[in-house]
């Protein structure tokens, strides 16, 4: 994905190829939930491509299908029409290939396991050796700033720390793709800022692809290379905005004219959409 401003070291041909790779290809995808009081059109005619190395945010009003779209990518939900390819295969095969780590809105840690023990759950399932498990857990707990909390149980940690632990758990098996559903939704602004920066750092350092659901315009603008604005009833994509911001970002960038202009664009896309409804 080319960017107007790119502070990355001169991109090698290899890297350019890597970035061009389509990780997610969604074509004319619709999803209808059959409920007791009739069908719900959760997603309608979605077209979306996500490339390796992108940081894509879904933003939109409550009930517009952000979670559902993320769940379709993760093979937790099946579309009723259209097609989706994840890394060139079906979402099911991508799941079986351990392509993605999913971070839910709630930490979802097992209360009977320590923080390190929680991070080991996927590693145990994937049959990693004990030493390798330990190495990965050490590395990623350190990365999310929980290096001193291996032996603590979840209830001994604050909500923000628990959410960081759940991110470490998703990173621990080094998936190529991170799917995050409002991971910082329940946190206060200061913790959120802090975690946003950490996430940006992880994303830059590990060169992952991130699909990120949020309600917050500043968060979406701060983090994303692409912002997907969605609208409800039926859930569809209203606009895809490509960010002109460099990959290297700081909280201070939020004062910059580009940032403010981009936030304004997102806000307008969301508002336009409301007028239509």
């Amino acid at each position: 994905m080319d960017m107007t401003v790119n502070t990355q070291p001169a991109s090698s041909p290899e890297r350019a190829k890597e970035e061009a790779r389509k990780i997610i290809a969604i074509e004319d995808l619709s999803l209808v939930f059959e409920t007791n009081d009739g069908p719900v059109n959760a997603l309608s005619h979605i077209d979306l491509d996500i490339h390796a190395g992108d940081f894509v945010s879904f933003i939109g009003p409550s009930g517009c299908g952000k979670t559902t779209l993320l769940r379709v990518i993760a093979d937790l939900e099946r579309q009723t029409e259209g097609s989706i390819q994840v890394d060139g295969t079906s979402p099911e095969d991508a799941r079986l290939n351990r392509l993605y780590g999913y971070v839910f809105q709630a930490p979802g840690l097992f209360p009977w396991r320590t923080i390190a023990g929680n991070c080991k759950v996927p590693l145990e399932i994937f049959g990693m050796s004990k030493e390798q498990q330990q190495r990965h857990v050490d590395k990623y707990l350190e990365l999310v700033g929980l290096g001193d909390f291996h032996k603590k149980f979840p209830w001994q940690l604050s909500g923000g720390m628990q959410q960081r632990a759940s991110i470490a758990r998703a990173l621990s098996f080094e998936p190529e793709l991170l799917l995050m559903d409002e991971p910082f939704g329940a946190l206060d602004e200061i913790t959120r800022d802090h975690l946003n920066l950490e996430l940006l750092k992880i994303w830059r350092e590990t060169r992952k692809t991130v699909v990120f659901v949020t309600h917050s315009i500043p968060e979406a603008v701060l983090l994303s290379t692409h912002i997907v604005v969605m609208s409800p009833r039926p859930g569809r994509i209203a606009k895809i905005i490509k960010s002109p911001l460099p990959r290297e970002r700081t909280l201070e960038d939020r004062e910059s004219p580009e940032f403010i202009a981009l936030a304004q664009e997102v806000r307008e896309a969301l508002a336009n959409d409301h007028r239509i409804n």
């Binding site: 937790l76 979802g108 996927p122």
Partner: protein, 293 residues
């Protein structure tokens, strides 16, 4: 503040026990005096109240023995009798305890296995659950002799038939508790494992089983008490030579009320101890699972 609360609680408890003891002695006097007065009159003895009082509290076969008589009998049959002797309560307790524990183990295993089947298989649920429930509506006193006789005919005697009756009573709470427990995992936790493409065995060991443990222990406490009841009931109709149930039965044959009460006290204490042991095991596991502080 806490200390004084503790003290007042202890005082209240002491008062309660004292009141119960007074009531007990009054009740013993009241219940036993009829028998005594009849005896005096039959033998034309002049009796005084003090005589009645002394006699009422020292009868060999009272209608209601006094706590001190029971305590004396307990002391005699526990500490003053050789353990191998048939008069030793320790000997009888040992017999009942072994079939209680064996039955409890079998019941726990059966209960867990049934619950696993029921949770993982809808057909099993529909075909098994009605039987599980019906099994508990049949009075145990009615089928215990049948089970003992049938198993006796098959040359199963002694410990095993009694344990089977304990199992019959104890598997039920375990099944019910474990079905609930194994179904208790959060949807979020289930989906988390689904994103790892976990296999059914991994769902079970990493999620369902740990989630179900608190339910299991709640059930095990009920089950072990039920097991004890089962073991004692099983000793009643068999004319068993040993066990607390046999002790109760022979006590009632010969009007040995003191013996009956002593056996009852031991059974009650044994039940409390067994439940407490399960509770201790629960706390130990809770600590390991980081639940208790």
């Amino acid at each position: 503040m806490f200390k004084s609360l503790h003290k007042s609680q202890a005082a209240a408890l002491t008062l309660m026990v004292l009141a119960l003891l007074v009531l007990w002695y009054l009740g013993a006097l009241w219940l036993n005096s009829d028998l005594l007065i009849n005896g005096y009159e039959r033998r034309n003895i002049d009796w005084s109240f003090s005589q009645l009082l002394a006699d009422a509290y020292s009868m060999k076969r009272p209608l209601l023995p006094t706590p001190d008589q029971i305590a004396a009998e307990l002391y005699k049959s526990i500490f003053d009798t050789k353990i191998s002797s048939k008069r030793s309560l320790v000997y009888h307790t040992g017999i009942t305890l072994s079939s209680t524990l064996l039955g409890f183990l079998m019941g726990a295993v059966l209960g867990i296995v049934l619950a696993i089947g029921i949770v993982h298989n809808r057909t099993l649920e529909r075909s098994l659950m009605p039987w599980v429930i019906t099994s508990q509506t049949i009075p145990i006193l009615a089928i215990a002799p049948m089970i003992i006789v049938v198993l006796g005919a098959l040359n199963f005697t002694g410990l095993v038939p009694k344990a089977i009756i304990s199992m019959y009573l104890s598997f039920f709470p375990v099944t019910i508790g474990m079905v609930k427990g194994l179904r208790a995992p959060d949807k979020l936790h289930m989906e988390l494992l689904a994103t790892y493409s976990a296999k059914p065995g991994e769902f079970f060991w990493k999620l369902r089983w740990p989630t179900a443990l608190p339910y299991l222990f709640a059930s095990l406490k009920i089950a072990i008490a039920a097991s004890l009841v089962g073991a004692i009931v099983a000793e009643l109709p068999t004319g068993a030579q040993g066990g607390l149930g046999a002790r109760l039965l022979s006590g009632s044959y010969y009007g040995q009320t003191v013996q009956i009460w002593a056996a009852l006290v031991v059974a009650a204490v044994l039940g409390a101890v067994l439940v407490a042991l399960v509770g201790m095991m629960e706390r130990k596991i809770n600590r390991r699972m980081g639940i208790a502080a």
